[in-house]
């Protein structure tokens, strides 16, 4: 698993024309982060060529949009193009941006597309729609598409729909002037372009409506219908740029529909419908669309198929596992809530238990699911004592969040083992702990106890990686186990570099450099070392810096210290953290 495997598809498509392009893209990525990494004019030209050839390769595979190569090429196109300057002039800029958004989506990169649009929001907002009616239509439609991609809350989607309505209101004021200034022989072309744009605007509005409420049910055929007319009239207008733009938009729109919570979990059960309504319509951080791992887990991985008694979910950190768990929890409760069934969500630490308690209460509490936590150490507090009395038969929570150790204790005391209050699902977070020496034993014991004592229990084990997933599910559920892995092993929720720091020089004159390392987690890697800082006649000598690893880490971090972006330095013990913090405070005060 590496970034090389993602970019390698482009290199393999044109081996004689794009040799070494995978390494160059990674270098370009690092150039956006480290001033010392600079691209030459020749390298920028190579990236331009790679972008254009990548697009040709994508078009060649246009009818195989579900293939891994197609997705990798689209993701690669997005990665390259988002690093390069964009075309000037409204029309071409918008064409490039819609293509970038569409191919980003098709490459399962919508989380990066959102970041990209956020970073470029000033330029997009500054786009002026004062020109001719066709340009105004295109510009405002583009802005509406951007709202639909961003959708920080339902208000954004509302803004998108409002822009389309604004265009409808403006039609009478602008359309005639536009047609009148077109040369007599070309009026049909101009009129055709407008008709194509009217249907384009309608398809954007439909997409917005669907994002809001999951209706109309036949959204895909309506989108195909309207974009189909747009394409037909773009051809009549002899405008090949618009024709291509609609082709990209159509694929993007269908992809967005299929990413939504509505499409992915339609008709599963009433709890999930209520949950979807709630998370989409809350004022802040509305969720309309699922990330690639979430969607894959539910659809391809059959997360909600009740036939699977044990599921191991192998997903990278930060790919939205909590929400996946929430869907599985709702599915389990829907099945067993009436019979007193409840769900245990077990985590390795008290801190995590507290954090999840807040999160799940916020997400599930509003739809009537009762969430509780039991996170004390070995002793039982009042609530926990109550839990084990009568095997918890008098309790009425639906989800209990607790630690591995505490859960072990509770189950051994009978909680979840009775027919009145059966444990129906155990969600195990950070399940890779099972491979650790100490924690592993506790977790294995817990799973074994649940498997033996809780007759109705199902399992959802969530982890960035367990090497023997298949054995674990087999142990827990025999042939009713299921392992969910991502098809796209290069997919990552964020971009990372893993490196080692090199300190070279002597005395008070020395340099710090970062040597990127090869990992199996899709991190960026370039051959040469990246200079980070250079000290001459420094107040602190090299031997003082290199006396301990934390001192090196602290020194590097101080070079990147900024109030705008968070920085984490790991120290060995609390005393060291105070020393580092004090150094930074005084440095910040100096600046």
């Amino acid at each position: 698993m590496s970034v090389q495997s993602k970019y390698g598809h482009l290199e393999q498509a044109y081996p004689d024309m794009l040799q070494g392009i995978a390494a160059l893209i990674q270098k370009a990525k690092l150039a956006t982060r480290f001033e010392a990494v600079q691209l030459t004019q020749d390298e920028l030209q190579q990236l331009e060529t790679a972008k254009e050839l990548c697009e040709v390769a994508i078009l060649q595979l246009w009818d195989n949009q579900d293939s891994e190569i197609f997705k990798a090429l689209c993701a690669t196109y997005f990665d390259i193009t988002s690093l390069l300057p964009h075309g000037e002039g409204n029309d071409l800029y918008i064409y490039e941006q819609i293509k970038l958004i569409a191919l980003g989506y098709l490459g399962e990169h919508w989380h990066f597309v959102r970041q990209y649009l956020k970073a470029h929001s000033a330029k997009i907002e500054a786009l002026v729609a004062n020109g001719d009616w066709n340009t105004r239509m295109l510009t405002l439609c583009f802005k509406a598409v951007v709202y639909l991609v961003q959708k920080r809350s339902w208000a954004d989607i509302d803004n998108a729909v409002s822009l389309i309505n604004q265009l409808r209101e403006e039609q009478q004021a602008f359309e005639k002037d536009f047609l009148d200034q077109v040369n007599e022989g070309n009026r049909g072309f101009g009129a055709s372009e407008l008709v194509s744009l009217y249907h384009f605007a309608k398809s954007i509005e439909l997409l917005g409506q669907y994002l809001m409420e999951g209706r109309p049910n036949d959204i895909e055929s309506q989108l195909h219908y309207h974009v189909g007319i747009s394409r037909e009239f773009a051809q009549k207008a002899a405008n090949i740029t618009l024709g291509l733009l609609y082709q990209f938009f159509e694929a993007f729109a269908v992809k967005m529909v299929r990413n939504t919570i509505w499409y992915t979990t339609r008709g599963v059960n009433n709890w999930i419908t209520k949950f979807n309504q709630f998370i989409a319509h809350r004022d802040e951080k509305g969720v309309f669309e699922l990330m690639y791992p979430q969607k894959e887990s539910i659809l391809d991985g059959q997360l909600l198929n009740p036939a699977h008694r044990a599921i191991v979910l192998n997903l990278p950190t930060s790919s939205g596992k909590t929400m996946i768990a929430e869907y599985r929890i709702l599915q389990a409760l829907n099945q067993f809530k009436e019979q007193g069934g409840w769900v245990a969500y077990v985590v390795p630490t008290k801190a995590l238990a507290n954090q999840l308690y807040i999160q799940l209460n916020k997400d599930l509490g509003f739809i009537g699911i009762r969430v509780e936590k039991a996170s004390g150490a070995i002793e039982l507090d009042g609530f926990e004592q109550y839990l084990v009395e009568d095997s918890g038969n008098q309790t009425d929570f639906d989800v209990l969040i607790t630690t591995y150790e505490k859960m072990n204790l509770l189950v051994r005391q009978g909680l979840g083992t009775t027919a009145e209050r059966p444990l129906v699902l155990a969600v195990v977070d950070e399940a890779h702990n099972i491979e650790e020496k100490q924690r592993g034993l506790t977790l294995e014991l817990l799973l074994s106890t649940i498997r033996n004592d809780c007759e109705e229990a199902n399992f959802l084990l969530m982890t960035p990686d367990i090497s023997n997933s298949a054995e674990v599910v087999d142990w827990l559920a025999g042939d009713r186990g299921n392992v969910i892995n991502l098809d796209l092993d290069w997919w990552q929720p964020n971009e990372r570099v893993v490196g080692a720091i090199e300190v070279s020089g002597t005395g008070r004159n020395y340099d710090l450099a970062l040597k990127t390392l090869h990992t199996d987690k899709a991190t960026y890697e370039i051959g040469e070392s990246i200079p980070l800082a250079s000290f001459s006649n420094s107040a602190v000598a090299k031997r003082e810096i290199t006396a301990a690893k934390w001192k090196i880490a602290s020194c590097v971090a101080s070079e990147f210290l900024s109030l705008d972006s968070p920085l984490i330095v790991l120290a060995r013990h609390p005393a060291e953290t105070y020393i580092i913090a004090e150094q930074y405070t005084s440095r910040l005060e100096m600046t």
């Binding site: 078009l59 265009l167 359309e175 200034q181 009026r187 009549k236 740029t241």
Partner: protein
């Protein structure tokens, strides 16, 4: 349209669309000029046009992407992308005629195609999008792959062609001025051709003859 999109189907808009739909291909004179140009280029200059569609970006102001001729040319056994413009003119008051030198004339259009890399990229995307519909062994696909290779391995090697179609007596000045100006800038190494076709039949008669209508 109104019921479907919420935009009003104004009479004028619909009339413009209707007028265009009513206009038969057989009555569009500019297409005759393009057809002459394609036939001549295929017969005499080893050019190939696999996709027979009106590509002229005759949208308002004519300033969008697109070119009248999008195809391939073989030069020294090498296939190159060919992008070109075609104009028809009977003007004799000016030599060269204004369609060569005006703000949207051939000379300006060819210079745009030369200067605007993005415009060429879109034409290549357009070709790619059409070529994929043909089987791998089809000459279109083979020409496309070869043209792509020439374009991207040799510092963007391609060919520009301008064709002036005339129904007046020949005169070298029709294209020589533009040619000399253009060749200074873009003849080497990209390659450019400017052709003038002189037809002994007045252009008003082209359509009736083609459509088999006796006068």
């Amino acid at each position: 349209m109104q019921a479907e999109t919420g935009f009003v189907a104004n009479d004028e808009l619909m009339a413009d669309i209707q007028a265009m739909e009513n206009e038969e291909v057989s009555t569009q004179q500019f297409r005759v000029g393009e057809a002459y140009a394609e036939v001549m280029l295929e017969a005499e200059f080893m050019c190939r046009f696999h996709w027979n569609e009106n590509r002229d970006a005759r949208n308002p102001k004519g300033n969008k992407t697109g070119a009248d001729l999008v195809g391939f040319i073989e030069v020294d056994n090498q296939v190159l992308f060919l992008f070109g413009e075609v104009k028809t003119s009977s003007e004799t008051a000016n030599r060269p005629p204004q369609v060569m030198t005006s703000a949207d004339g051939i000379e300006k259009q060819l210079r745009d195609l030369y200067n605007n890399k993005q415009k060429r990229a879109i034409l290549i995307q357009y070709l790619s999008n059409k070529a994929r519909l043909f089987p791998a062994e089809h000459p279109f696909r083979q020409d496309f792959d070869a043209g792509l290779r020439s374009y991207y391995t040799q510092g963007q090697h391609y060919h520009l062609v301008g064709v002036l179609v005339r129904d007046v007596p020949p005169d070298e000045r029709d294209i020589s001025v533009s040619y000399h100006r253009l060749k200074e800038q873009i003849l080497e190494p990209k390659g450019i051709k400017l052709l003038a076709l002189y037809l002994p039949i007045r252009k008003e008669e082209w359509l009736p003859i083609i459509n088999g209508i006796e006068r």
